[in-house]
């Protein structure tokens, strides 16, 4: 694990990461990943002492070189006592109490920032003067970064309380602070987007966050190329669908968001090569209606049909244009009685979580008709984040952690154009989470645990994703130059994350068999 470039990475926040239970007596997960053992409860004190150590080292150049060559440090991984020993070596009294109490949020956050500082002082015995220079620069920048985050939180809090004047002045202050931070990468870049989103929320709330569907297409495609999240989603879902279709000759896939249809060539190819020959494959693709009269769904269907023809897979495509998923009615999908049905939802279900009290909640009605189709498998891929909490400040904090990690993972992308456009894709999501409310806020991400509860309650039972999916995901990840991606298995579901923070979760479900379901389907077909 390398140092975090952005100052913020979640690990000990309240997300569904299974590794963090009680924070008080536990060793901090982030630092331990880098080889340092610090108790989470001691983080503030250690942070304070490290700052003092920095100040001392900057002011006492002569003694440093001596320390570097002659000091013997025991237990280097025990960060707290190392710092104490360094401070006492340099004859500074070790403070007993921490006075960082005015920064309550810093708990889980400060660790990686200091990690970076510590690394720059490190264990090397080289040019300590150079190191001091580096330390000073890093310290100043880290200070600004910490202040930026602090200001962002304070601004979000004042927005929540309705103190718009204060929020406005904080935004001005943050913009000023941005000049002293590197905005090309890391916390500076992410903070810039969040500052923009906050100011948009305050000053132009009615400005539309989402662009045209053509823009969305382009952003999506570049996001697909720049990072593995969508590919992971597609490949994992395909593997599960392939296994569920085993032994069936007539199969029907319902795709909740066709986009460019990039998920389906691989499935068509896999079905073509399956032992026993390919089935008859029907694909129903749901997508927004095209604004300019082009039937973009049909065009994609034609290309997929051409591919299927080349590999001798009998294929039929149907497009369903709907701007909202809850506008789709099951009869539109024309599911046949003897077909094995797979429902595929890549980051679509969270859009249904906005509740409109006048009608049945959209998510329940959609889950209901999915179940009435009696699908062999329902593949669900969702962002692993908690962006649907009722309190704005909670959502804001979560989003800050989540998107910082996402941007971090994007840093290593070597394709410059794709990377920039992928960032715009994420910026749009950030905008929606921060600026929009009510029915306009569609990015209502919820963590895997909540989806599990919801799907279990709606009459689905989980299907475990097998080891083939895991292996495939692992190989896929080796293709990406950044080594920080990790695939983890979580009770039969797979998550893809960056440096042990899961960012996207894939799961598979099957409708619990119910005596009323077959009647429901026959009735639908009679209509």
């Amino acid at each position: 694990m390398g140092p975090y470039k952005s100052g913020i990475s979640a690990g000990s926040s309240s997300s569904s990461s299974s590794s963090c239970a009680g924070k008080q007596s536990e060793i901090d997960g982030l630092l331990s990943g880098a080889g340092y053992k610090v108790r989470s409860s001691d983080l503030r004190q250690v942070a304070h002492r490290l700052e003092r150590l920095e100040t001392v080292m900057v002011n006492a150049p002569a003694e440093i070189s001596q320390l570097a060559s002659e000091a013997v440090h025991y237990n280097p991984s025990d960060l707290a006592s190392w710092v104490d020993s360094m401070l006492s070596e340099l004859n500074q009294p070790v403070p007993m109490s921490s006075d960082l109490s005015d920064l309550p949020y810093i708990d889980g956050f400060v660790a990686p920032a200091l990690h970076q500082t510590v690394l720059s002082e490190g264990w090397t015995e080289q040019n300590t003067h150079e190191q001091q220079q580096l330390t000073v620069v890093t310290a100043v920048e880290e200070d600004s970064a910490i202040r930026l985050v602090h200001l962002l939180m304070t601004c979000a809090e004042s927005v929540q309380r309705g103190e718009l004047g204060l929020a406005g002045s904080l935004i001005e202050e943050m913009r000023g602070l941005l000049t002293s931070v590197n905005t090309e990468c890391g916390i500076g870049k992410v903070a810039g987007y969040f500052i923009d989103a906050l100011s948009r929320r305050l000053f132009s709330p009615l400005a539309v966050c989402a662009g045209s569907s053509l823009e969305s297409d382009i952003l999506y495609h570049h996001f697909y190329e720049a990072c593995p999240y969508l590919k992971f989603a597609h490949f994992t879902a395909n593997q599960a669908i392939l296994e569920a279709f085993d032994g069936h000759d007539c199969v029907h896939v319902v795709d909740f968001s066709l986009m460019h249809g990039l998920q389906w060539p691989a499935l068509i190819q896999a079905l073509a090569l399956r032992p026993g020959g390919p089935p008859l494959l029907r694909l129903t693709g749901i997508g927004p209606p095209s604004p300019d009269g082009r039937d973009s769904l049909r065009e994609i269907g034609l290309r997929l049909a051409e591919l299927a023809r080349s590999v001798n897979v009998r294929f039929a495509f149907r497009g369903v244009a709907a701007s909202r998923l809850d506008d789709v009615k099951p009869w539109m999908l024309q599911v046949g009685p003897r077909e094995a049905v797979a429902v595929n939802s890549i980051m679509q279900l969270h859009r249904l979580l906005g509740s409109d009290s006048s009608r049945v909640s959209p998510i329940d009605s959609v889950l209901g008709w999915i179940r009435s189709l009696n699908p062999k498998i329902v593949t669900v891929v969702e962002q692993e984040a908690n962006h649907n909490q009722p309190e704005f400040l909670d959502r804001f904090t979560e989003a800050l952690y989540y998107y910082s990690t996402m941007f971090d993972s994007l840093e290593a992308c070597s394709l410059q154009l794709e990377k920039s456009v992928a960032e715009m894709y994420m910026q749009r999501e950030i905008c929606n989470v921060v600026c929009c409310e009510g029915s306009a806020r569609v990015e209502r991400h919820e963590p895997l645990a909540k989806w599990r509860a919801r799907l279990n309650g709606a009459g689905f039972r989980p299907l475990h994703l097998g080891s083939n999916a895991f292996k495939q995901a692992s190989i896929l990840l080796t293709l990406f130059s950044a080594a920080g991606y990790c695939v983890e298995e979580n009770e039969g579901c797979l998550t893809l994350g960056w440096h042990s923070r899961p960012l996207i979760a894939a799961s598979a479900w099957q409708a619990v068999s119910d005596t009323s379901a077959p009647f429901g389907r026959i009735k639908d077909n009679l209509l």
Partner: protein
């Protein structure tokens, strides 16, 4: 007299195309590329898909027999190797090498084999189908691009 004897003993591989094909079938990807620049005959042989077919599935056992029509339909074994399989193998190799160097370069004597596993082949086939789909114009709607944009992430330089 000596000349005639010389002529009888002289064996020119280029006169025995079938043998040449059998030999070239056993080369690895890089050597095939080198072989292509030897002479026109060798170049034409290295463009035969059957040579690349052996390369792709050499170490996968049992060798998948019914894959050929699909691979041919999607663009042929040479393209499969160059666009998908080779980057997959090279990424894995570079990852293994960097891990090995990180661990102190243990055991250089054990060569990291450039063979592909069955899972790597399957993933490559999936990526290959996406490549074909994009060349049809299915990805961004632009027809006939020689290097599909979705697979650009495979084209990063790998130092192995």
């Amino acid at each position: 007299m000596a000349n005639e004897k010389e002529k009888k003993l002289k064996f020119c591989i280029n006169d025995h195309r079938d043998v040449l094909v059998e030999i070239l079938k056993r080369l690895d990807g890089r050597s095939l590329g080198v072989a292509a620049s030897v002479c026109r005959l060798w170049c034409s042989i290295t463009r035969q898909d059957s040579v690349w077919e052996s390369l792709c599935f050499r170490h996968v056992s049992p060798p998948p027999s019914d894959v050929r029509p699909v691979v041919v339909a999607l663009g042929g074994y040479r393209r499969l190797y160059m666009v998908c399989l080779r980057p997959v193998i090279l990424s894995r190799l570079s990852r293994q090498l960097s891990l090995r160097l990180g661990n102190g370069g243990a055991g250089d004597s054990e060569r990291i084999k450039r063979i592909c596993t069955r899972d790597e082949v399957q993933l490559s086939l999936s990526l290959f189908s996406i490549d074909y789909y994009e060349r049809l114009g299915g990805g961004t709607g632009r027809l006939g691009e020689s290097s599909a944009s979705s697979l650009m992430f495979l084209c990063k330089p790998v130092n192995v």
